[in-house]
């Protein structure tokens, strides 16, 4: 068979290339451009090589925010994934309550991020906030604007409140797609509810859970708005996550070179960790 060779197909791809160039490639290349140059603000640039990258990689400040970021991300993953699965398992499969549960679950996801931050900020204020007042009235000295532990507690609680729903919805979608016959077959075999979860529900939810972990990982690693509004990175630097630190360097100190280098490292860290997660979770499928 003869294949007709022509180049017309490129015309169809062109709009996409143009779009991707404008919203991804050009901004990214600008960052790359900044990351290898030094500027003194009058729009003159000097070649700096990999100085900024070395600086960032050796900077204690970067190490600290990266550690904080990893702590935050892994804590919320460890809470949100199991909690989301448990809630999904407890949700009804059919009947009147299904849409009610689904709508209630989706509500936190519909609230704009800065509103979530502001909401929790007021909610947790020790003197006038409902949560803050309640904890203090229990005799616990709670003040998230002053105490590091309290700030982290509030930050994680806020993220769990905001995002567990996403895991619930994904896990629920995985659960309802399991045909009844699986449960019946397991019942005939005499499998208990743990065995049903371990050998039927969990394997059947694997794909959606992989997506849930990846989404929650990437989103939480990029998180900015909510902690910025809630704690502003404080008290001190105790809740300064990577993105907050990056904005401080880029816009607060106007150190464009180091900020650009940090952005690229940040990006590569996310890419690498996402790949690791995906490979680990999909390991069995490949075999």
């Amino acid at each position: 068979m003869n294949k007709t060779i022509n180049q017309k197909a490129w015309f169809f791809v062109l709009p996409v290339i143009a779009l991707v160039a404008f919203n991804a490639i050009i901004p990214l290349m600008t960052v790359v451009n900044y990351s290898v140059q030094e500027t003194f603000g009058d729009n003159t640039f000097f070649w700096a090589g990999v100085i900024w990258f070395e600086d960032i990689l050796h900077s204690e400040r970067f190490h600290d925010s990266l550690m904080r970021q990893l702590t935050f991300t892994f804590t919320i993953l460890l809470i949100e994934i199991p909690l989301g699965v448990i809630i999904a398992l407890a949700m009804p499969r059919k009947g009147f309550w299904v849409p009610v549960c689904l709508i209630l679950m989706s509500l936190p996801l519909l609230i704009p991020w800065n509103v979530v931050g502001a909401m929790w900020n007021i909610f947790a204020l020790p003197d006038i906030g409902m949560l803050g007042r309640m904890i203090n009235s229990l005799g616990i000295d709670y003040n998230f604007t002053r105490q590091i532990g309290d700030a982290w507690f509030t930050l994680i609680l806020m993220d769990v409140w905001h995002w567990t729903s996403l895991v619930v919805l994904l896990a629920y979608a995985g659960l309802v797609s399991i045909p009844d016959a699986y449960y019946q077959a397991a019942k005939i075999d005499g499998a208990g509810s743990w065995a049903i979860f371990r050998f039927i529900q969990l394997p059947k939810m694997k794909r959606v859970l992989t997506i849930a972990v990846l989404l929650r990982f990437m989103d939480s690693f990029n998180i900015y708005t909510e902690p910025f509004v809630l704690t502003g990175g404080g008290p001190g630097n105790s809740t300064t996550l990577l993105s907050i630190d990056l904005v401080k360097i880029a816009l607060g100190q106007f150190d464009l070179g180091p900020a650009a280098a940090m952005s690229l490292i940040y990006f590569l860290v996310i890419l690498l960790l996402s790949w690791v997660f995906y490979t680990l979770m999909m390991r069995d499928e490949e075999q």
Binding site: P179, A181, I188, G190
Partner: protein, 355 residues
């Protein structure tokens, strides 16, 4: 091991899914539940298994009342239309799973899994996962799981429905061999009359929640109790038309009539329903007593060496199934020959009249 249902019925929210049903399946028997989707086959099977509770009635295994005994303790196994296996177990572990629950020793498990895997041609793939295998192989794993534990009741709910034609033929041939020499009651649900006839056994014809007839498959096929059972057991659908009886003459339409003897001749004169299966309405003149009818051709389906002609005859939609390829034009008039010696007659209550 025998299975008996006594006045078993099932109501769900004021709707009757199964009307009071009595059935006795003998030990080491192959029983077929035949009926269209929605006839209640699956519901009845789930009640037999103990996965679903009957609203009324009782179930006996070997004369022992098991109505309130949980499914886990009934020693049943079931194969579904979907290929149900544990997704992250290997084939070996899947087949072994019912034995593990029963606390059987590792040596015995190995032997039994090996035997059943040989029988079902699964031995080369014991180390693989179900998702890596074809649909036919996946269904074989499910069957192996059902057979490995020597259940006293094996329920097969349209196990071949999701397989492609070739695999279906293959497994259909293998099934009786696999189930032979097992002292268990086999219940096999299907929508296909052909399948019911292929497995020599008993057939329960089901329609809208009722078992309309139960008996040896060939008998149910040849001597249906009533029109409903005849319809359930006919593919293509059985042709029917009303006929007028006067004395010993049966008249289909002016000019088309024949004589009958036996019980029918002695019954009172009047209208009756005449039924004839499609392969007894042929384009060629066959049988001892063919009667010619004319019809207007609506569709001709030609499948390999056979022609199925849908035609209209006296306001009835009839189907003729004949050997050979006969392409008729739509709308043309054609002659068909009805082998009335295979005809069935039904009274005004749609009960069969024995001839």
């Amino acid at each position: 091991m025998s299975l008996e249902l006594k006045e078993v019925s099932k109501q769900v929210g004021g709707e009757t899914h199964i009307y009071p049903t009595n059935l006795v399946f003998d030990s080491a028997s192959f029983n077929i539940l035949l009926g269209t989707t929605g006839a209640g086959k699956t519901t009845l099977m789930q009640i037999m298994a103990g996965l679903d509770k009957a609203s009324t009635g009782s179930i006996f295994f070997n004369g022992e009342d098991v109505t309130n005994i949980a499914v886990q303790k009934r020693n049943v196994s079931m194969v579904y239309q979907q290929f149900i296996n544990y997704p992250n177990f290997t084939v070996y572990e899947n087949i072994a799973s019912p034995l593990r629950v029963a606390n059987i020793g590792e040596g015995e498990i190995k032997k039994r899994v090996g035997d059943i895997a040989d029988l079902l041609k699964l031995s080369p793939m014991l180390g693989r996962r179900p998702s890596e295998l074809s649909g036919g192989q996946q269904q074989r794993i499910a069957m192996a799981r059902a057979l490995v534990k020597d259940a006293s009741l094996v329920l097969l709910d349209e196990p071949l429905a999701n397989l492609d034609f070739k695999l279906r033929e293959e497994l259909r041939d293998e099934l009786p061999r696999l189930l032979a020499e097992r002292n268990c009651v086999v219940v096999y649900a299907t929508t296909e009359p052909m399948e019911a006839l292929l497995f020599s056994g008993h057939t329960a014809a089901m329609h809208e929640g009722r078992v309309t007839q139960f008996g040896p498959s060939s008998q149910v096929y040849r001597e249906p109790n009533d029109l409903v059972s005849a319809r359930v057991f006919s593919e293509p659908p059985i042709n029917t038309t009303s006929v007028l009886k006067a004395g010993n003459e049966i008249r289909l339409s002016p000019g088309i009539s024949w004589n009958v003897a036996g019980e029918l001749a002695r019954l009172k004169d009047g209208p009756y329903t005449f039924g004839i299966r499609a392969h007894h309405v042929t384009i060629q003149e066959t049988g001892n007593t063919p009667i010619q009818v004319d019809g207007t051709v609506q569709i001709t389906e030609i499948s390999g060496s056979e022609s199925v002609v849908h035609f209209r005859m006296n306001d009835n939609n009839w189907i003729s199934q004949s050997p050979g390829i006969h392409p008729y034009d739509v709308g043309s008039t054609a002659h068909f020959y009805v082998d009335i010696s295979h005809g069935l007659y039904f009274d005004e209550h749609e009960k069969t009249i024995s001839v």
